[in-house]
C-alpha cells in the first residue's frame, strides 16, 4: 500500500528519472499574443461603448479609437493568430461544428466570432461617420444613419467576455500553476485587459493628436483603477500558489514576471498622468509591453510547472487537502 499519511514537500517526491508526468502545451507567442490582443480588443470596445453612452463631446476620441482598436485587434489580429496556431489551419471551422459549454475553447470560439461581428459593425459605423467610406456611396450613407447603441449595448458584454474568458481558458487545465488560480485568473486577465485597452486608446489619441484633456483624464483614472485591481489580484495569486510560486518567481520565467510588474504596474502608476504627450506615449507603451509580459509569464510559468514532475505530484496529492 502507498504511504497514506505524510506528504513529502515540493522537491522530495520520488520521480521517474525526473521525466515530466504531464505533457506541456504548445502555446507560445501566437497564443500569448492572442491573449494580449483579444483582451485589449474587448476592453477597448467596452470603453468605446461607455464613452459613447455615458460620456459627452469631450469623450468622443475614446469612442472612436476604442472602436478601431477593437476591430483591428479583435476581428483581424486575434483570428489570424489563432488560426495560424492550429496544426491544421484549414480545419479551423471544425470549431463551429458544436457549441460546448464545458469547453472554454468552444465557448471562446463562439464568443470571438460574435465579438468580431459587433466590433465590425461599430467600426463600420464609425468609419462611415469619419468619412472613410465615401467611395462606397450607399454603404457610407447606411453607416451614417444606423445608430451605435443597439449594437454596442449588446456587444459590450462580448467585449467583457473577450477580456476575461482567456483567464478561464488558461486556468481550467491540469497544468499546476494555471489550475491553482482558476478562481481568479479571469478577473486578473480582465483588469489587465482594461489597463492595456486604456493605454492603447491613450496612445492612439496622442499619436493622432485627437485628444481632449477630459478624455486623457478619464482613461488615466480607468487605467489606474484597473492596475490597482490587477496588482492586488496578482499578489493574491502569488500568495495562493504556495511553494508552486517558485515557477513564477525563480528560473527562466522570473525575468518576464518581474519586468511585467515593473512595466505594466509600477512604472505606469508612478508616472501618474503625464502632462507631456511624450510622457503619455511612454506610459502607454510601458503598459502595453507590461501586459504582454504578464501573459508571457503566466503561460510560460505554467509550462515550467508542467515540465517538472514535482509540481504535479505536489499539486495532485490528496493527502495535503
Amino acid at each position: 500500500m502507498p504511504n497514506d499519511h505524510q506528504p513529502p514537500t515540493l522537491g522530495d517526491y520520488p520521480t521517474y528519472y525526473d521525466k515530466p508526468a504531464l505533457k506541456s502545451g504548445h502555446w507560445r507567442w501566437l497564443i500569448i499574443g492572442y491573449f494580449w490582443a483579444g483582451g485589449m480588443a474587448g476592453g477597448s470596445y467596452l470603453l468605446a461603448m461607455i464613452a459613447h453612452l455615458f460620456g459627452d463631446e469631450a469623450d468622443r476620441p475614446i469612442a472612436r479609437w476604442g472602436r478601431y482598436i477593437a476591430v483591428v485587434m479583435g476581428a483581424v489580429v486575434s483570428p489570424v493568430l489563432l488560426i495560424w496556431d492550429l496544426g491544421k489551419p484549414s480545419r479551423f471551422y471544425n470549431m463551429l461544428r458544436i457549441f460546448k459549454p464545458r469547453s472554454p475553447m468552444s465557448v471562446g470560439t463562439w464568443g470571438l466570432l460574435t465579438f468580431s461581428f459587433f466590433s465590425g459593425m461599430s467600426a463600420f459605423l464609425q468609419a462611415a461617420r469619419d468619412g472613410l467610406l465615401r467611395p462606397f456611396g450607399p454603404l457610407a450613407r447606411l453607416g451614417k444613419t444606423l445608430p451605435f447603441i443597439p449594437f454596442e449595448s449588446i456587444g459590450a458584454f462580448f467585449g467583457l467576455f473577450m477580456s476575461g474568458y482567456t483567464g478561464v481558458l488558461l486556468s481550467n487545465a491540469t497544468v499546476p500553476l494555471w489550475a491553482k488560480s482558476y478562481k481568479t485568473k479571469g478577473a486578473t486577465f480582465l483588469s489587465s485587459a482594461l489597463a492595456t485597452a486604456s493605454a492603447a486608446i491613450t496612445l492612439l489619441m496622442a499619436l493622432t493628436d485627437n485628444e481632449t484633456p477630459r478624455a486623457i483624464r478619464r482613461l488615466h483614472h480607468v487605467q489606474r483603477g484597473a492596475m490597482i485591481v490587477e496588482g492586488a489580484l496578482i499578489a493574491h495569486e502569488v500568495h495562493h500558489l504556495g511553494p508552486l510560486r517558485g515557477y513564477l518567481l525563480r528560473g527562466k520565467v522570473a525575468p518576464h514576471f518581474y519586468s511585467a510588474l515593473l512595466c505594466g504596474l509600477v512604472l505606469p502608476l508612478l508616472m501618474r498622468s503625464p502632462r507631456s504627450r511624450a510622457g503619455r506615449i511612454l506610459k502607454a507603451l510601458l503598459t502595453l509591453v507590461g501586459g504582454f509580459l504578464y501573459r508571457t509569464s503566466a503561460v510560460m510559468g505554467g509550462h515550467a510547472s508542467a515540465e517538472d514532475p514535482q509540481a504535479i505530484f505536489y499539486h495532485s496529492d490528496p493527502r495535503r487537502d
Binding site: 500500500m1 502507498p2 517526491y13 520520488p14 520521480t15 521517474y16 528519472y17 521525466k19 515530466p20 508526468a21 504531464l22 505533457k23 506541456s24 502545451g25 504548445h26 502555446w27 467596452l46 470603453l47 461607455i50 464613452a51 492550429l86 496544426g87 480545419r91 479551423f92 471544425n94 461544428r97 458544436i98 460546448k100 464545458r102 469547453s103 472554454p104 475553447m105 468552444s106 470560439t109 477580456s163 476575461g164 483567464g167 478561464v168 481558458l169 486556468s171 481550467n172 487545465a173 491540469t174 494555471w178 482558476y182 478562481k183 485568473k185 479571469g186 480582465l190 482594461l194 477630459r214 486623457i216 478619464r218 480607468v222 483603477g225 504535479i312 495532485s316 496529492d317 490528496p318 493527502r319
Partner: protein, 272 residues
C-alpha cells in the same frame, strides 16, 4: 464466434465498459505491447536514442507511443531480506470516466465510444492542443512532427468493433496486460491483489479505481510502490469540473469592472 472469445475469454458487445487491467508484478519488460501497438495502429518511430534510464529507451507516452514500458531499478530494503528489484510497467491511456481531454475538446473530435473508451477522430480534430493541457496523466499529445493533430491510444477501437481484443493485450506473453469488461477486470484485479498480499507482497495495491482518479479509470494498474515511482500522480482531475465556478467568478468581476468604468464616466468631470 469472435476472436476475443478465444484470446481474452470475452465477447465484445457495444454498450458495455471495456478496459485494461495492467498487473505490473508479472511484466517482464519485453515491450511486445509497444511493438504490437505500433504495428497494428501504424504509428511511426519517434526517435531511436539510448536514454541511459535502465531499459527504457521509449521515454514516455505520446503522439507516436500509445504503450510505454517503464523500467525502475531499485536498491532498498524489501520483503524477505531482498534488497534489489526491477519494476516494470506498461503504461497506457487511462480512458478516464471524467476525461479532461474529452471535455476540453472544442470540435467534438474526442468521443466516448460504445465501449466506454475515449477516441480522437482524426478527421475532426483541428490540432488546437487544448486536450493536451487538460489530461491529468500526460498521455495525449499533438503530433507536431507529422499531422499536427492530437493522438493517443484508441483502446484499438477498430479491433473492438471487429471482435478482436486490443493488440497490446493480445501480444502480452505474461498476461500482465489484461483486456476485458471493466466489472470482470476489477473482480480479477481485486482477487489478484488479495492473493499477492497473502503471499507476503503487502505493498500490492490497485491504482486508478478510486473516484479521485478522474472519476475512476478504465485502464488501471496493480502497483507495488508509490505511484510517483511509476510516474503516476496520486489523483487526477477533470479541469472541466471547475469551469462553472471559474466562469461565474469571472462574470462577477466583469460586471464590477464594467460598473467601475461607467462610474468613471458619470463623474462630473471638469477636473482636468
Amino acid at each position: 464466434m469472435q476472436e476475443a472469445e478465444l484470446t481474452a475469454a470475452t465477447r465484445i458487445e457495444a454498450g458495455r465498459s471495456y478496459g485494461f487491467f495492467t498487473d505490473t508484478t508479472v511484466c517482464i519488460g519485453c515491450k511486445a505491447c509497444e511493438v504490437a501497438c505500433k504495428n497494428w495502429n501504424g504509428v511511426g518511430v519517434d526517435g531511436l536514442e539510448w536514454s541511459g534510464n535502465s531499459y527504457d529507451n521509449t521515454g514516455d507516452l505520446g503522439a507516436q507511443t500509445w504503450r510505454h514500458v517503464a523500467f525502475v531499478e531499485q536498491n532498498k530494503a524489501l520483503w524477505h531480506g531482498q534488497t534489489q528489484r526491477w519494476l516494470m510497467m506498461s503504461d497506457v491511456c487511462k480512458h478516464c470516466t471524467r476525461a479532461g481531454c474529452f471535455d476540453a475538446c472544442p470540435t467534438g473530435a474526442i468521443i466516448r465510444t460504445e465501449f466506454d473508451t475515449i477516441v480522437v477522430q482524426s478527421d475532426v480534430c483541428n490540432g488546437c492542443g487544448y486536450c493536451v493541457m487538460a489530461c491529468p496523466y500526460g498521455v495525449i499529445e499533438l503530433d507536431l512532427g507529422g499531422s499536427g493533430l492530437a493522438q493517443k491510444c484508441t483502446l484499438c477501437y477498430d479491433r473492438l468493433r471487429g471482435g478482436l481484443e486490443p493488440a497490446c493485450a493480445k501480444a502480452c506473453p505474461t498476461d500482465s496486460i489484461q483486456f476485458g469488461p471493466l466489472d470482470a477486470l476489477v473482480e480479477r484485479a481485486v482477487d489478484r491483489t488479495v492473493a499477492l498480499r497473502h503471499q507476503g507482497i503487502e505493498d500490492a495495491y490497485l491504482w486508478g479505481l478510486d473516484e479521485h482518479q478522474a472519476g475512476g479509470l478504465n485502464a488501471f494498474f496493480l502497483l507495488v510502490d508509490e505511484p510517483e515511482v511509476y510516474n503516476l500522480p496520486r489523483s487526477g482531475t477533470d479541469p472541466a469540473d471547475f469551469v462553472a465556478e471559474s466562469a461565474w467568478r469571472t462574470t462577477v468581476a466583469a460586471l464590477l469592472l464594467g460598473l467601475f468604468t461607467i462610474l468613471n464616466f458619470l463623474r462630473a468631470g471638469h477636473d482636468a
